[in-house]
């Protein structure tokens, strides 16, 4: 990864921009394209808003495009071609399909456009110039460390229910691997009483958790791959008249809704918060660096993850709910 500019530069640049505003911006023109998967999910909305703010601070032209769903490949293919035609210097893209979009990305790079994958990698990962995302293994490790310590503190022998994503989906697999490693479990450990796929969907997670509770009354640790799955698990616990205080429920994401309505009241014990704003900010700054300072991006950038809880576990570093609220995404 080349030298990474930080928000410090952004802050300084704001002052410079104000000064330059009076006599015109003499900085080299940069045009950045941003393609998200869809914008129904506040995660992608937060990412776009930060990209817009950073572009504004840097005096950069930002073109944006989005699809209609997480599987809308066609819209993204068209957006890449349009942006290349408009002469963008770089494209930031969260790919809906890591393989199907490869030809479009290769064409863009052949035309001299820098391509950075955000959030989701291409297959192969080095099909693009750089890849900025959460360290999902670390996210899983954080909630795993917490769940293990909390279970020990409460004198529980962990009986774990795993609410996973979808088989073969890299981020879900990585989170799960990190969680199990921190818990000191392998995938076949008898302490894992259930491991189901929920596609990260609240309804599916509710159904899956209801079934798990029917078969395993002694579940006391629940891992949810994301917050909609955690909220689905809570729905099922409520329907089964099980007090959430009797269960250690951990998740990954850090959206505002789950932090305020799940973590703050203690229904979700802890979540690993990721930062789409960092992906967007660093992505725009990386392309600005490449154009203005001739420092092209390469490799992988970890955009950070923090454990958020209102009920800390002994020996596990975490940030409080107020921190989570300040840095969450969405409403």
């Amino acid at each position: 990864m080349t030298r990474r500019r930080t928000a410090v530069v952004t802050a300084s640049a704001m002052g410079m921009l104000m000064t330059l505003g009076a006599c015109g911006d003499s900085r080299e023109e940069v045009t950045v394209g941003l393609i998200t998967k869809q914008e129904e999910n506040p995660y992608w909305l937060a990412l776009r808003e930060t990209a817009e703010k950073t572009a504004d601070d840097q005096g950069v032209t930002l073109l944006t495009a989005t699809g209609t769903s997480d599987a809308d490949v066609e819209s993204q293919q068209k957006a890449i071609a349009d942006m290349v035609a408009k002469g963008v210097n770089g494209i930031l893209i969260a790919p809906t399909d890591s393989a199907a979009l490869l030809p479009a990305v290769e064409a863009a790079r052949a035309a001299g456009v820098i391509v950075i994958a955000l959030d989701t990698p291409f297959d192969p990962v080095d099909a693009v110039d750089a890849y900025f995302t959460t360290d999902n293994v670390r996210a899983g490790e954080l909630v795993g460390e917490y769940a293990a310590a909390k279970a020990k503190e409460l004198g529980m022998t962990p009986q774990v229910a795993m609410l996973g994503l979808t088989p073969g989906f890299l981020s879900g697999d990585q989170r799960e691997a990190g969680f199990l490693a921190s818990m000191g479990l392998d995938a076949k450990d008898p302490a894992i009483v259930a491991d189901v796929d929920t596609q990260g969907d609240r309804e599916l997670a509710n159904d899956a958790m209801a079934k798990i509770l029917q078969d395993n009354q002694d579940v006391n640790v629940v891992y949810a791959v994301n917050e909609p799955a955690a909220l689905g698990a809570l729905d099922a616990l409520g329907a089964a008249n099980i007090d959430p205080a009797d269960i250690v429920l951990v998740s990954v994401d850090g959206g505002c809704g789950a932090i305020k309505d799940g973590v703050r009241p203690g229904l979700i014990d802890a979540t690993a918060q990721q930062y789409p704003a960092n992906m967007a900010r660093e992505g725009v700054l990386a392309i600005v660096d490449a154009v203005r300072d001739d420092q092209p991006p390469n490799g992988y950038l970890d955009t950070g993850v923090q454990l958020i809880t209102g009920n800390p576990a002994p020996g596990v570093d975490s940030r409080d709910v107020a921190y989570g609220v300040r840095n969450c995404w969405g409403e």
Binding site: T6, V8, A11, R264, N278, R281, Q306, A322, Y323, R326
Partner: protein, 460 residues
């Protein structure tokens, strides 16, 4: 401080002694607000009133800013208010001594000089990157402003005919809330939007973190250097100008009048004694509310820092507008009845902010300012009513109740750290409930209408 500041809301530290100025050309200026030869110094003093309003309310913004820059607890960051209001409290009496011993001009110059020095101390503090150094700078700044305020109020009164003294003081005081709003505006425009996003620090190297700290502290530096520059300019203009002024009032003899002296008489007066405590809790509620509005907006509702700054700005505007509304309502209601109603309203707002953790809670926090708007002058007036000559010293005691602004924000912050950001508002809730009790006491008690130490009888 002013309309936003408890001290000057009712006339400030030096409001009691009204001296008469009789410079050579004052005769031709009799009846005018300010004689022509004192017009420039008067305008310079108006700037002083604006400057200390700005400095005081800029401090409210700093608590959250320092918490973010130094990544510390709410309690640690609340030391900003302890340093600021603590200096105001500690310097209140020495300031009165300086003015009575050396005169108004000397008092104003010492105050301006010390305050400017405090502003300039932000420069080495920004280089050392030490929180303690910023606290020292704030302490020196506030110490200077305390002296300045103590001298400037009677200075303004002395700048002309006795008949127009109240008008002059009211005009000067009107610049204080303007300054208060400018202070918050400076924070909202110059500091908060430029701060390094907190989430971005998660992925910074130690060197990048140090650079971000330096960059953020340089944002803090700018408005304080600006305030220091203005104060130095005023200092020079006042120092080089010859003024014909009356001598400053002499210090009050606390032993005069026999039977234990002024202090004993005041202490035996329940309306006064309880009034000092009520003022302590009023100032405490006000400082807690404004100090933690920004933090509530960010920590509970999740607004951006810049939006949070605007919510504080709205609070001050509500406070200002409510002042006028309360003035009108006071023509309809008995002062302590209105005080009781507004204190009750304030308690309800605090409770709402504690348990409704969304935008409604934030609106409740902002609405507390409406309740606060009448409190300082009302408590001031009720506590001093019928004290006669003892009112001069009694006023100083009420002003020193500003200590509430130094201590209670730390308690509020400690509750936040131990419980949650919203639960911290239990502190202003209790403070306002105690103010309500004072109002109730006054409403239910018979009161002799003369200056005396006779105890009041509380109606059963």
């Amino acid at each position: 401080m002013a309309s936003s500041d408890p001290l000057s809301a009712s006339g400030g530290q030096g409001a009691a002694p009204v001296a008469t100025g009789a410079p050579p050309d004052a005769v031709e200026g009799a009846g005018k607000l300010v004689p022509r030869h004192l017009l420039v110094p008067f305008i310079l003093l108006l700037l002083c009133f604006t400057a200390w309003g700005a400095a005081a309310n800029l401090t409210d913004v700093l608590v959250g800013v320092f918490r973010g820059i130094f990544d510390m607890s709410n309690f640690q960051s609340s030391l900003v208010q302890f340093a600021y209001y603590g200096a105001y409290f500690l310097l209140a009496l020495p300031a009165a001594f300086i003015t009575s011993r050396f005169g108004y001009k000397a008092g104003v110059l010492v105050g301006l000089g010390l305050a400017a020095l405090g502003g300039l101390l932000f420069i080495p503090a920004g280089q050392i990157l030490a929180y303690e150094m910023f606290l020292l700078a704030l302490f020196v700044l506030a110490a200077g402003l305390s002296i300045l305020e103590t001298s400037a109020n009677p200075f303004v009164i002395a700048m002309g005919d006795e008949q127009t003294a109240t008008q002059r003081l009211n005009l000067a005081q009107a610049f204080n809330p303007i300054g208060a709003n400018i202070g918050v505006l400076m924070g909202a425009v110059l500091i908060l939007p430029g701060l390094t996003p907190e989430a971005s620090k998660v992925i910074m190297s130690p060197q990048e973190l140090a650079e971000s700290q330096e960059a953020d502290l340089s944002l803090v530096l700018t408005p304080y250097i600006g305030i220091a520059a203005v104060l130095i300019g005023i200092w020079v203009l006042i120092a080089v100008r010859k003024m014909h002024l009356p001598p400053a009032p002499e210090a009050i003899d606390l032993t005069e009048g026999g039977s234990g002296g002024t202090f004993s008489r005041l202490w035996a007066n329940k309306h006064y004694r309880y009034g000092v405590f009520a003022q302590f809790f009023n100032v405490a509620a006000q400082t807690c509310t404004w100090t933690f509005t920004i933090l509530y907006a960010q920590d509970v509702v999740g607004t951006s820092p810049e939006s949070a700054g605007w919510w504080l700005q709205i609070s001050l505007i509500i406070f200002l507008i409510s002042r006028f509304v309360m003035t009108w309502l006071l023509t309809i209601f008995r002062p302590t009845l209105l005080l009781l109603l507004m204190a009750g309203f304030g308690v309800l707002c605090c409770l709402t902010s504690m348990f409704v953790l969304n935008i409604v809670g934030l609106i409740a926090v902002v609405s507390i300012s409406a309740a606060l708007s009448l409190m300082f002058p009302t408590i001031y007036g009720v506590a001093l009513r019928g004290l006669g000559d003892d009112a001069k010293f009694g006023a100083a005691g009420l002003v020193m109740a500003i200590l509430g602004g130094a201590i209670m924000p730390m308690v509020h912050a400690a509750v936040m750290d131990a419980s949650s950001p919203a639960m911290g508002f239990v502190v202003p809730a209790i403070c306002l409930a105690l103010v309500a009790l004072y109002a109730l006491f006054d409403l239910r008690s018979h009161r002799p209408g003369v200056a005396s130490a006779q105890p009041e009888v509380v109606a059963s």
